[in-house]
Symmetry: C2
Subunit: 207 residues, 2 copies
Amino acid sequence: MKLQAAIDRVSLEEAKKIAHDLDGIVDIIEFGTSIIKDYGLETLKTQDIKLEKSKLLLDLKTNDEGKYEFEKGFETAADILTVMGGSSKDTIEQTYAVTQAVNKDILIDLIETTDDKIDQVSDCKNAIFGLHHSKDSGKNFDAVASVAQFAQKHPDIKKIAVAGGINIDQAKKIAQQGIATTIIVGGQIAGASDPVKAAKEFMEVIQ
Amino acid sequence: MKLQAAIDRVSLEEAKKIAHDLDGIVDIIEFGTSIIKDYGLETLKTQDIKLEKSKLLLDLKTNDEGKYEFEKGFETAADILTVMGGSSKDTIEQTYAVTQAVNKDILIDLIETTDDKIDQVSDCKNAIFGLHHSKDSGKNFDAVASVAQFAQKHPDIKKIAVAGGINIDQAKKIAQQGIATTIIVGGQIAGASDPVKAAKEFMEVIQ
């Protein structure tokens, strides 16, 4: 299982520092939507954000204009971009096509996405499907149960990421469960007083 | 009825030029999502984007972290910000609360939003509900029929904007229909060889 550490709501300098500190410690480093909307892709293109060992995910959260946003996004050092599962099927298909063409990765963010829409786009075989509990909806998220339920409903989907206030106990349980392929951890790593130490603790429990 | 002119997929310099040219000609000038994701709110805060007469809308398309994004967004010269109807009810309520607190405006973008979700947030009485056909889904959008259908399903919603490839004929018909309170026009104005002339033609048919 892979560990993705998300960095959000900090200055670009701080985000870059955390990212470089975590490079090689976690599998994927995410620059969250807040970093993109605060600083913009044009700025990110000019910054030293390329990672040596970890993959870089930009949480673009595309809702429309899929081709434009993904082409722009992949002009940065990003290896993985995200599209909203709640966007139109056409948008998801456009972003998937751009991603396949450049041989990179896409995560479909399933916040509030209906099962019907998931079924409509489940033929995007190389996409990562991201189970994602809205941050704004508080802490009532049972990640383990959500992953089990998702896998039962959508048995053909193999790449599953899960996000939403995941702590070290939940990470351990998700790893033991053996369904999800990536866990995404936000504040528990990037917001820790020692992000590298926190990341190593998460890596340990998911092995 | 108000006219909102959306500016997208151009450089920030070009966007600013079009915005200042259209200031006072149209009611609302929109900096589209592409401008925000390309340049970022931190940059937009430092730029001369304040308008003298027209209102400024930033098409933030918030999906999560509603409070953070709207507080950041309103640090710019924006009068109106947008949230996705497909985000969680909590996100929409957070963004609505921030907007009310600063006495500004919010547009809920209804791309792919279910009727059930619209009903859940229809008590956001001061929100503008934006009927929005995904750009990526092509041209099969009957704006007039969509507005009529929406008003029938949601009779309590009074502020209705409509967007999606609207040309001058459709604008005229929507004005005659008398339901929508704002029409949003993109490329037909901002992409015209003479945006001011195009905007004036739209203003004329919607009076």
